[in-house]
Structure formats: structure tokens, C-alpha cells
């Protein structure tokens, strides 16, 4: 993935930022985080436990979000935990997955 964007670092960045911003808004909508704005969610802050204070039902809702919006189905709970760690890890996974789909 990175290799494709290597000559165009600005492109790589904007694509990733777009994904993350869209994703943040989707998270806010899906989990009904009323009054929260995308820019208030830190890319790397853990979504669960401290961070946003989400719980296990939210993690299931986030899996629904990934499936409905990105066609990504996570079957393994352990993998789910890794993917849903932060906005960054989710965005990475989305990008990886869409690259895989294109390949």
C-alpha cells in the first residue's frame, strides 16, 4: 500500500485523513455520540475502556458499521478487538481491506 503512495506523500495523507474523518462521523452516528464532533476524537486514543468509554455492545455496533459501510466482516473476536482499538487501527484495516479487494 505504502509503496503506491511513496512518490506522492501528500496523496497518501489526504486519503487516510478522509477515511478517518468519514469514519469518525460514522462512529458518532452509529453510536449516537450526541454533541461530539469528529475532531474531538483522537486518532490513536483507545475507543474502549478509558478513551471514549465505549463497551462491548458498542464494539458489536462498530462491526455492523464496518460491514454495512465497507463490506468488511470480522468473524474472529480477537481480530475484532485489534481492529477496533482506535480510529487509526480501524482506518488502517479499511484501507488494507479495500486494497485487498482491488487486488
Amino acid at each position: 500500500m505504502d509503496a503506491i503512495f511513496a512518490p506522492y506523500p501528500f496523496l497518501r495523507k489526504s486519503t487516510m485523513d478522509d477515511i478517518k474523518n468519514t469514519l469518525k462521523q460514522q462512529i458518532i452516528d452509529a453510536l449516537n455520540l450526541q454533541g461530539m464532533k469528529p475532531e474531538e476524537i483522537d486518532d490513536n486514543a483507545p475507543l474502549f475502556g478509558e478513551g471514549l468509554g465505549l463497551d462491548s455492545i458498542d464494539s458489536l455496533e462498530l462491526m455492523v458499521l464496518l460491514e454495512r459501510n465497507y463490506g468488511i466482516k470480522i468473524e474472529d473476536a480477537r481480530e475484532g478487538r485489534k481492529v477496533l482499538n482506535s480510529v487509526q487501527s480501524m482506518a488502517d484495516y479499511i484501507q488494507e481491506h479495500s486494497a485487498k479487494n482491488r487486488a
Binding site: 463497551d55 462491548s56 455492545i57 458489536l60 462491526m63 455492523v64 473476536a77 475484532g80
Partner: protein
Amino acid sequence: MLQTSDRIVVSSMGLISALGTGIAAHTAAFEQRKSGLRHPQHLKTLHASEFLVGEVALSDVAMMQQLGIPSTKKGYSRTSLISMCAIADMLQTTDLAWLQNLPKLGYINANTVGGMSIVENLYMEMITDRIDEETDKWIDTLDCAESTEHVARFFGLNPAMATISTACSSSANSIIVGARMLQHGLVDAVIVGGGDALSRYTLNGFSALKNVDKTPCKSFDQNRNGLNLGEGAGYLLLEKESSAKARGANILAILSGFSNHNDTYHPTAPSPDGSGALRTMAGALERAKLPAQAIHYINAHGTATLNNDHSEGLAIQNLWQGVPPPFSSTKAFTGHTLAAAGAVEAICSIAAMQANTVPPNLNWETPMEELSIRPCTQSEKVDINHVMSNSFGFGGSNVTLIFSRA
């Protein structure tokens, strides 16, 4: 007036599940280790090839035939039919005329989604403006009580009724409520239990919770990966010991203890240290005035979800200080029959006591890391005088029942 010295007894019982109709079908399946799980044939779901379920083998039409209902008659939801089959089974050893003429009969039923198995196919039609008699006659099955009232009418009964819905502990709760109504003199005899039909609604719901195993469930196994859903119904006739004796009824078991506690931990997950399950089991022992050692078999809730078996396993291990009596989950035989589970498993527990035989816990291979105890994996002969049956539901609804030899 509250009266507790006269014991509450079970004088007849009937059930239906993926294993068939009646107690003999269930004990035979336990003995032959023959699970009732299969890919659904009656439930029309897109996920049919994906999931194994404990489906009642009979179609709606076949059940209607067995019950003597003309096939032209409409309006019988699968939930009602399954319940009717279980009660019809119970009535083989009960005097129906006596029930019909009892001045104070009770019928405490339980289900989780009423007639959803039919409503889910008609809902979009129901919310249109179109008046369609074929569709609209099912409107009342949207609620849970429709099945209760329909079943009572079908058997010509005019009882005091209640419908309970506390998820997977529903029919265990109807047993408790019925028993207490007897003690308070609100009823002279009471049919207690519950029934649930498979629906796409519940299958997709549990699937959304990511706790459905696509292979046969492995209760209390380290590599368990969720439950299999099932359908069925179980009903018991409860009355006071004095009443059963006076009419010369066969007493199958004594309901010697029961307990209902809330877990107060999470909407769907049990307390990870097992404290909720432990409190409930201890409560039932206390009411039965029995020491833990008196229990000779535990029919565990044992859904094979990661959370339940962890929590329930720890509770059993702690309550019996590492040396519990034989315990097993029969969910790998019947699937998780939800609202029916409490009654179906209570009946299987009583049957186990009558036959002095512990039903095996199927598909168990690897001990759970956090447990030193193991379920009973072989059909085992032991003297059973007291059995315990656990039912733990969403919303932290924990119920334990104890039955004793008559």
C-alpha cells in the same frame, strides 16, 4: 393466606424439542448421544446453510394433524402449536376433565417473542394501508400473551393466566411464580412452563451479538464458540402435595427450592466472577434447606457462550469448593430453546432423577483454562435424590430450581 408447609409437587409433565415429543424421546437421545441439531428446514432463513439449530422436526401442518386441528383452520402460530404439543403430551398423564373443572386453575406461560416467527414475514404488509384479512388476523400474535390465551382456549381451560418474558430464564420463572401462587392459595393447580419457536428475528439477533456457533456447541470447553438456537416447549403441572395425594395422583418430584436474583452486571453478559450465578444457586439451596453436597446432578445453563460458561463454571466450582456433583449442559442436544429452556431442562432434570442417570455433555474435549472442574461427558449412573437446574437470561435474570425425589 401464605402456606409453605404443604410441599409443591410435580404431578405430570410434557415437552417437545428437536429431540422429539415426550420424555422417552429425550432420555433415549441422551443415552444414544444423539443430538437434535440440524440445518433449519422449517425456518425460512437466508442463513439456513450457515447455522445449526435445534428445530422441532414436525412442520406446522404435522403438529396441527397431531393435535386434531383441521388444516383449513388458520391463526395458529408455531409458538402456540409447539406449546400445544407439549401440553398435549402432559395431558396424556393428566385428567383433562379434572383440570377443566378445577375452580382455580392457573396457567403461567412464558415466551420471548410471541408469534414473531409469523409476524416477521408479514410485518411490512401489516404497516401498509391495505386491509388484508389473511395478514391482519395475525396482528394479535405481535404480543406474547396471544399464545397463552390461544393455548388455554384450545384445551377448553379457563385459568388465571400470566405470561412471563425474562429472556432465557422465562419458563424457569413461570415455575417459580406458579409455585408461589399455589402457596398463596391463588390457584389449586397450575400449568407452568413456556414455549418458543425459532424465528429469523432471534437467529439474526443472536448472530448480531456474535455468539452463535456454526458448529455443534461445546459447553464448558476451552474452545467453545457460542450457542446453537433451538425451539421447543415444556410444561409441568404443579399442585400441593396434599392435593396430589388426595386425588391419588402420581408424584413425579417435589419442587424443593427455587431462587431468582438479578446479576446487576451488564445487559447481556453475566458477572465474570460468577457471583450472580453463585448467589442464585446458594439461594435455591437455602430455600430447599439443603447443603450443596445434597445435590447429585446439576443441569447447567451451559449455553457454550464464552461468558456464560466462564461465569457459571466458576460459580459451580466455588460453591462446591472444586468438587461439584456431576454436571452437564443438554444444550448440544436441544439447542438453546430460550423461553422454553428452563422448563424443558427442569423436565430433563426430573427425568434424570427418576432414571438415576446423568445426561452427557456432548462435544467436550478441552478443559477450560480457568476451571479445575469438568462436565460429565458420559451418560452416568448415579443415585440422584436432588437435582439442580440453572437458567440465566439477558437482563441479568438468574434462576435456579431444585427438584427432589418424591
